[in-house]
Symmetry: C2
Subunit: 291 residues, 2 copies
Amino acid sequence: MDLITEPAALRRACDEVRARGARVGLVPTMGALHRGHLSLVEVARARADLVVASIFVNPTQFGPGEDLERYPRTLDADVAACAEAGAGYVFAPTAKAMYPAGEETRVNVGATAADLCGVHRPTHFEGVATIVTKLFNIVGPCVAVFGRKDYQQLRVVHRFVRDLFLPVEVVGAPTVREPDGLALSSRNRYLRDEERPRALALRKGLGAAWEAFAAGERSVSHLRALATEPLSDVDRIDYVTLADPETVRPLPDGHVAGERLLVAMAAWVGKTRLIDNVVLGEDDHPHRQGD
Amino acid sequence: MDLITEPAALRRACDEVRARGARVGLVPTMGALHRGHLSLVEVARARADLVVASIFVNPTQFGPGEDLERYPRTLDADVAACAEAGAGYVFAPTAKAMYPAGEETRVNVGATAADLCGVHRPTHFEGVATIVTKLFNIVGPCVAVFGRKDYQQLRVVHRFVRDLFLPVEVVGAPTVREPDGLALSSRNRYLRDEERPRALALRKGLGAAWEAFAAGERSVSHLRALATEPLSDVDRIDYVTLADPETVRPLPDGHVAGERLLVAMAAWVGKTRLIDNVVLGEDDHPHRQGD
């Protein structure tokens, strides 16, 4: 396993891999790796001959006042974990390498980026689409793997890959959870001891909606009420949105759900913003899955 | 020479070319081809084993009220001209193939797209950057050739190619002119007989600045005045801008030029918008070059 920091060096390395007929896979991350990230590397390994894991805390996807500075950085441990998970290269560039002086190009995705987290983080997905496009162009992967925990991000990547005709297959991998159902997130380490139990409110809301849907409930307003109720435990709700799983367009309260329905939420516990989601009719129960 | 209309078919064809170790070149055009376009194919042929010429009147680079509908479309003649010029493939997709229902991604370049034509055509370069990115991702060219007549467009392409780490060499080819110095343009066919002589005002202005610069003049305000004076013959001036040739940032009147200086202009003769430019200290005289 090699650690590479220069884009040109990574391109050369990936060109060589492809030149010998091997398939390159990519797992973009911001580091602070947990089992969820490592599961993405495993998914990529099953679909490619060599996996590049990138570790880059991308400044353009953080808004003013967000946690760019305090975002956890654990490079040595991350590199060791990637090596153990079977990544061939870890790419850990500097911000200046990815955004050199004078750069000014951004990739914008429209409606897919507008709702849910887009309302609360208006430039977030522009930053995501821009950095992922850069990584795709440096690495030239056949396949790239993203976690379904960041569901809207996954749809944004699907959207611009299709729109821009990028020759890469985008794969979403299941959310990995703690035994009690909390979705793994690098931001979980921000949670204080007293906050940790309250962080379960999100998976409780998703679980309530999941069970009602399984029992036949299809009213968007009822499902939304069930998903929201446990969030009385959090300090602030950004959103609880029921949406089309493809377009992530929110569905109005009067809507009757079809076969699949996205329930996505973002809420604050203390100073920690948590997100979670489930696709009803598709995903496993957000708690039992973690057992 | 093959005519291809489907993006997936073009990708397969180009993948096969690359798989046998050959270099692919790309010349993106909007058709209505003239000798200027064909010179781009020649430049590309000198740098690649197979040249793709694309012919696509890109709707997203036209603003409201612009000439999208009446833009000349001469596909049969264009295909024949490309074959004669040595293109291997002509790619002529439908608008729906390049912008299918639901697409919503745009590539935005910042300051490089803001001045000159960007002031008068605020969404133009977003449309250019988006379609060229799509074409790059379908074709996967080693080299792409653009005319220097659309100087700001060339700089926009250089900018986003560098910013997004696209693995393609961008080459600018010299403006081709009529014997009297008029820069070739698909829009020249809009000009009425009485308008044609007045269209020379642009190259006259550029020529006056060129001669003064060659004689040692370095005052931006003087050079701008010289370039503007012949434009008394046109019906409306969009801009006459002296700018940095790399960044296309306008230089203020008090500025003293360095070794190279872009003089760019856009003006209307009747209902026809014409653009032209010269890089002082680099390009040939905009008239003698056409002799």
